[in-house]
């Protein structure tokens, strides 16, 4: 066997063994990974809709949108996964809104890489709970220092960019919901 064939055979054999091994392990782990992701999403949905008992994914649209029902099966609102650019990277959140889209029922941050201690404060309830009282029509506004209108929320001192990014992502999300509602898809 000459050298070139030997090189080829060695690499093919190593590659095949490694590929086969990984396929087996992935087969074992895949259902668990999917279950973890599912659990994470469900947890977030019921955080933004504390009275929610059941959820159902809305199909046929590009967004990750869930209908949330109470014990009797009545629609109590929607939960939508929204994301956009923050200060250092993508901020991913779950936002809960009432069925008429006039009220925000809750917000929870799923993923963020903002500055620890400053921008990362957006994950705290002291920030996210503000949105429960805010009027999202026509749009939410982030204000420094003091709030003036029902549309306003307070931004975090030292983390204006992260706070405003959250507000912007939420406004885009609400707009998307309004569009879907108009088109009769939800």
């Amino acid at each position: 066997m000459n050298n070139v064939t030997k090189m080829l055979v060695t690499l093919v054999v190593i590659g095949a063994i490694s590929g086969g091994l990984l396929a087996k392990i992935f087969e074992w782990a895949d259902p668990q990974i999917k279950a973890n992701a599912q659990r994470e999403t469900e947890r977030a949905i019921f955080v933004v809709h504390p009275e929610g008992k059941k959820q159902e994914k809305v199909t046929g649209i590009p967004d990750e949108l869930y209908k949330v029902m109470d014990v009797k099966g009545n629609l109590i609102g929607y939960a939508i996964q929204i994301k956009g650019n923050g200060f250092q990277g993508v901020i991913k959140m779950m936002m809960g809104v009432s069925p008429d889209l006039k009220k925000i029922t809750g917000l929870t941050v799923l993923d963020q890489v903002e500055t620890p201690g400053l921008g990362s404060e957006i994950t705290k309830e002291s920030f996210t709970d503000q949105f429960k009282k805010v009027d999202p029509t026509p749009a939410i506004v982030g204000k420094k220092g003091a709030t003036e209108t029902p549309n306003d929320i307070l931004t975090i001192t030292g983390a204006t960019i992260s706070s405003v990014a959250v507000v912007k992502i939420m406004n885009l999300g609400i707009e998307e919901l309004r569009k879907l509602k108009k088109e009769g898809k939800i």
Binding site: N3, N36, T115
Partner: protein, 231 residues
């Protein structure tokens, strides 16, 4: 390489004499990036040790079958296989940890410690020795990450292993959990390690001088002023 080649020696080599972080300065990228807390640091260290151990064992076993020209490619495939196994298992069993370590687990593939040990040790030594060398290097790496992670977690967030250890009145120094804090910590630890090493060397030299002098004193008593100068 150490003169004696007992397995214990191979293992201890990685802990201090050839510690991958403090002596070889390999794999500093994950070191700086993941050590915001002890748990993250130790998890990274153990994941790297796992990959290091199994790839060293396999590479040492198949070293004579691999043609020299494609050895690096073959090593990388072996290493990548074990890294992917760690990544998948972590995602399935420890989703929180996997989220915290994020992209740094797949990047173990290009961690220079692993390829470095494969090329410098496993491809030239027996399976048993390679195994002990890998364990030692992994333990040394994990210990280094534990120390760095501990310092950064205490100073940066008043916690250790996630438990509050400093009272609220101490304002946490945020910079220590930011990238700059990683460089400060690592730099100061390098300084301490090198200083210690230098002192050890000085001691040996002093001892040699003292031995020589006492030997001289027996035969020819030295003049007192030269003695004070030397000391």
């Amino acid at each position: 390489m150490s003169k004696s080649n007992s397995p214990i020696n191979d293992f201890m080599n990685g802990i201090w004499k050839q510690n991958p972080i403090f002596k070889q300065v390999l794999g500093t990228c994950p070191t700086l990036a993941v050590t915001v807390s002890v748990v993250n640091g130790v998890a990274m260290g153990l994941a790297t040790t796992f990959v290091l151990l199994f790839s060293s064992l396999i590479i040492s076993m198949i070293k004579s079958l691999i043609p020299n020209q494609v050895r690096i490619a073959a090593y990388i495939v072996v290493i990548a296989t074990f890294v992917t196994i760690v990544d998948i298992v972590m995602k399935a069993q420890f989703p929180e940890l996997s989220k915290a370590l994020g992209p740094f687990i797949p990047l173990i593939v290009v961690n220079c410690i692993i390829l470095g040990r494969a090329e410098a040790f496993a491809s030239k030594n027996t399976v048993v020795r390679s195994g002990f060398d890998a364990l030692g290097m992994g333990a040394g790496f994990t210990l280094a990450l534990l120390v760095i992670g501990g310092i950064r977690e205490i100073l940066g967030s008043n916690k250790l292993f996630g438990f509050v250890v400093l009272p609220d009145t101490v304002e946490p120094m945020l910079i220590f959990i930011l990238p700059a804090g990683a460089f400060l910590t690592l730099g100061i630890l390098f300084g301490i390690a090198n200083n210690y090493e230098q002192k050890q060397k000085d001691k040996i030299i002093q001892k040699a001088i003292a031995a020589e002098r006492s030997a001289k004193l027996v035969t020819v008593p030295a003049a007192p002023q030269t003695e004070t100068e030397e000391a």
